[in-house]
Structures are given as structure tokens and as C-alpha cells.
Amino acid sequence: MAVAERDGQRIWTRRTTKAEFAVWAAWLVGVALFVYCWHKISELTIWDFVYDAPTQAADLARRMVPPDWAYSGELWRPVWDTISIATLGTALAVVMAVPIAFCAARNTTPSAVLVRPAALFVIVSSRSINGLIWALMLVTILGPGVLAGIIAIAFRSIGFCAKLLYEAIEEIDEKQVEAVRATGASGAQVMSYGIVPQILPAFAGISVFRWDINIRESTVLGLVGAGGIGLQLNASITNLAWTRVSLIILIIIGTVVVSEWISAKVRHAII
């Protein structure tokens, strides 16, 4: 807040002149950057397609109704596979995330100089590579199928689970740990009686939360061949079977909504 002098009168202004200029310059740079990026994108765009898009969308929508309900009999297996990918992937991720989280947390890491940065690097690289890219990589190595999907989901989730878990470990109450240590407990006993009970609710919450996200992610892994309902989606799109596509999308949305509901219920029960 500042006061400006104008014609001998003192007027309230929100910022000082200097701050005003700084804000103005930030806006200028921001807008210039946006315009430049927009210009570049528009150079790469065939605008006729874009103008035509509403007609195309209407046409596509017409071809997508009614959904091909008869096809739903063949979809139970892929839906089961999708859920398995998400669940087993989450389980695998959680098992791997626990030691990494303990290595990354400042108060439990064995070595803050060597182990902690390595654990943090694992977390960052797992988080910055999307599940679909992990799947793309693993399909090339392991061949198409659910195994690639499970491992892709697991690798992608390690970072997320470990990050939230190590933050929970860093926030624990040190007094309880101290009390357990004062009884003469060994390192492992301190871990199991002092630290684990404090982070168990957070741990359960994180696992369920990630499971819910993984259901969402595993529905599309099939697009690169990693199993689940995405395979059928991809096939139907390639065959231009739009009534099947709309059915699959309805099923995907249904699965996601149900999993979200379950996860909300479980988290509510835990916390």
C-alpha cells in the first residue's frame, strides 16, 4: 500500500510506483511469451481442419449413438484386467516405495549425503515420466500384455507414494520415537514401535488414493499395447466402430466413478 501525490492531494494507491512498474513488466513478458507460443502453434496448425471441427464433432456424435450394448459381453474380461493392472501395480509400487521413502525422509535416512539424493532422484524420475511412457518402454522390452501394464503402473506410482510417505515420515512426532528409544529398543524396534504406527494411517490413505488414480491410468495403457480395456478402445477406434467406442467410454467412466467412490469411502473410514 502506498500514497501518491497528485495535484497536491494525497491519493491511496495499491502499490508503489516501483512495484507498479515491476508488475507491468512481468505482465509484458508473460503476454509476449504467450503471443510468441501461440504464433508458433498456429503456424503448425491447418486452420481449415479447425474451422471444420464443429461439423466433424456433430458427425462423430451422430455415429456414436446408440452405444453397441451387445458388445458389452466381451468387455468384462478387459475390465477385470484393467482393475487387476491397477491393483497389482499399486501393491507392487507400495512395496517398493516404503524403503525408498525411509531413505528419503530426513529423520530416518541412513545417510543424508549419499542415500537421500539417490532416493530423491528415483522419486523425481518416476514421477516425471508418465505411465503411458513407462508402458511404451516396457511393451518394447517385455512384449505386449498385462505384465507390462502392471510394471508400468508400479514404476509410475513409486514416486508418488514415496513422496507422500516420506513427507508423512518427516512430520511424525519425535517424542514418541524418543520414548521408544528410551526403553532401550534397537533400531528396528524403534522403527516398528515408534515410527510405523504413526504413519500407518497416512500409508493406507496414500495407497487407496493412488489405487484410484491408477484405475484411471490403467484404462488407457492398452493404447500402447499394455493390456486392459484400452486395447479394445484402440481396436474399436482403428476399425471406426464408433458405437463400440461410446460403449467403452461409458464403461470406463463408470469404472472410474465407482473406484473414486470406493476410495473416498475407505479414506473416510481410515482418517
Binding site: L44, A53, G145, V146
Partner: protein
């Protein structure tokens, strides 16, 4: 556990202390374990994994790991450079447009400042935009707008609306009503009320979330390319299709590097703004 021991007479007190289980009801606890074991058994039983193919693929996995030492930045550098730039353009434009579009929707979806019909319409828009997986959205938009970064830009913008609009609405609902009330009491019009009473309260957090979304959009822009939405994802997909693991390794390292830089920078900017 102090309660249970204190209630009992000393003679009956258990000699050894046991820790309280996480789930108190033993039936539920053992039932859950049983269900979990059954589920894992069934799920593992129904998965069909082609172990022969997995075994054959292992040398390729080793090759891929070896490709990281050293990765090949030079052979496909032109394509990688183009892809990265395209991804960055998409990230910036989609974040800006997405946030601009989400502001009216987010304001409309806040229960405490929007009338009921507007509230329900805006909440419905947010729910729909959030329930679509970004990749599925990208597939459709690529069909509509053709291959290239425009489809990716549209996908990321729509995803941003759902994310940002919802958080903005929640933030407005959590604001301090007395400050807004004070501005209203000066006789301010509706727009003035929003601008001076509501906006300053949500601004710091929203700038932070905008930067966070920028970060997410870059990560996602690496993926929409796989289904034809332009950007570095397309380059990466091509590299995998050609089994050029050393180029793929280079691209992955670049993505990780940029994500780290963006995360670090946005963290610093957020601290500076708040």
C-alpha cells in the same frame, strides 16, 4: 492400552503388552486379509503372461539400460529439439488459455457467490471435464483437429479447466466472508466486489496452483504426442518404434531434466509470490 490395563485388577493384568492392531475388529481384520489373499490369487491366476516373450525381451531390456550410458543426443537432435520446443509452446498456451477460461467457470462454481442455477451448470462442466482421461480426450481431439500441436493444446486446455476451475471454486468457498462483506458495504458493484473483495484473497494460492498446473501440463504434453497430439511424445514414440533406445534415453533424460527445472523454478516462484 493404558485404559484396558487400568480397568482390570492387577492379578488379571496381561503379563506382556501387545500393540493394538490397526483394525480393531478381529473378524474384519482377518476377513480383509483373507479377501486380499484370495483376490491376489485369482488376479494372478487369470493374468495371461507370455513368459517366453518376456524371457526373449530381457536382452532388449539390458540393451535399453545400456543405452543410458551414454545416451545419444546428437543423431536425432533436430527432431528432439523441435519436439521439445513444440511441447513447451503447447504447455505455455494451454496453461494460459485454460486458466483464463476456468476463471469464469470457477467463480460460477463457488457456492457462496453464485446463484443456484449458475452453480449447478458450472459444477456440471467441471465434473465432465474432470471425468475424461486426458489421453482419451486427446484421441478425439486429434480426430477433430487433425494431427499436430493444436489438438494437444486443446486437450491440455480442457484438462486445465477442470483442474483449475475446481480448485478456484473451492478456494473462493473457503475465503473469509468478512473481507468481502466490507468491500460490499462501501457500495461496490458486483465486478468491483469480485475484484477488491474476493480476488486478493484467492490470488496468492491461485498463482501457485497456476505454476503447478504449468508443471503438470509439461509432463502431460510429453504424452499426448503418443496419440498424435504433437510435442516430444511423438518423437519419443518414433524412437521406440525404431528401437533407437539411445535416442529414447536422451529424450527421457531431457524430459526428467526439464520437469526438475520447472518444478524447482515454480517452487521458488510460489514461495516468492506467497
Amino acid at each position: 492400552m493404558t485404559k484396558t490395563t487400568a480397568m482390570r485388577p492387577a492379578a488379571e493384568a496381561p503379563r506382556t503388552w501387545r500393540r493394538k492392531p490397526f483394525i480393531a475388529n478381529p473378524l474384519l481384520r482377518w476377513g480383509l486379509w483373507l479377501c486380499a489373499a484370495l483376490y491376489v490369487a485369482v488376479a494372478l491366476g487369470t493374468l495371461d503372461v507370455n513368459w517366453v516373450r518376456v524371457w526373449e525381451g530381457l536382452p532388449r531390456g539390458r540393451q535399453f539400460l545400456a543405452a543410458f550410458f551414454p545416451p545419444d543426443f546428437t543423431t536425432r537432435w533436430d527432431e528432439i529439439y523441435e519436439g521439445i520446443l513444440e511441447s513447451l509452446w503447447m504447455t505455455v498456451t494451454s496453461t494460459v488459455i485454460g486458466i483464463l477460461l476456468s476463471i469464469p467457470i470457477g467463480v460460477g462454481a463457488a457456492r457462496n457467490i453464485a446463484p443456484a442455477p449458475v452453480y449447478y451448470v458450472c459444477r456440471a462442466i467441471l465434473a465432465v471435464s474432470r471425468s475424461f482421461q486426458e489421453i482419451i480426450l486427446a484421441i478425439f481431439l486429434v480426430k477433430l483437429f487433425g494431427f499436430g500441436p493444436f489438438a494437444g493444446f486443446m486437450t491440455l486446455s480442457l484438462a486445465t479447466i477442470g483442474f483449475y476451475g475446481k480448485l478456484l471454486a473451492e478456494d473462493i468457498e473457503d475465503m473469509d466472508p468478512s473481507q468481502a462483506e466490507a468491500v460490499r458495504a462501501t457500495g461496490a458493484g458486483w465486478l468491483q466486489w469480485i475484484n477488491f473483495g474476493v480476488q486478493p484473497q484467492v490470488m496468492p494460492r491461485m498463482i501457485g496452483l497456476g505454476l503447478y498446473r504449468l508443471d503438470i501440463n509439461f509432463r502431460e504434453s510429453a504424452v499426448v504426442g503418443i496419440v498424435g497430439g504433437g510435442g516430444i511424445g511423438a518423437t519419443l514414440n518414433t524412437a521406440f518404434d525404431r528401437y533407437e533406445f539411445d535416442s529414447a534415453a536422451a529424450i527421457l533424460l531431457i524430459i526428467i531434466g526439464i520437469v526438475m527445472v520447472v518444478e524447482y523454478a515454480s517452487g521458488h516462484l510460489r514461495k516468492w509470490v506467497q
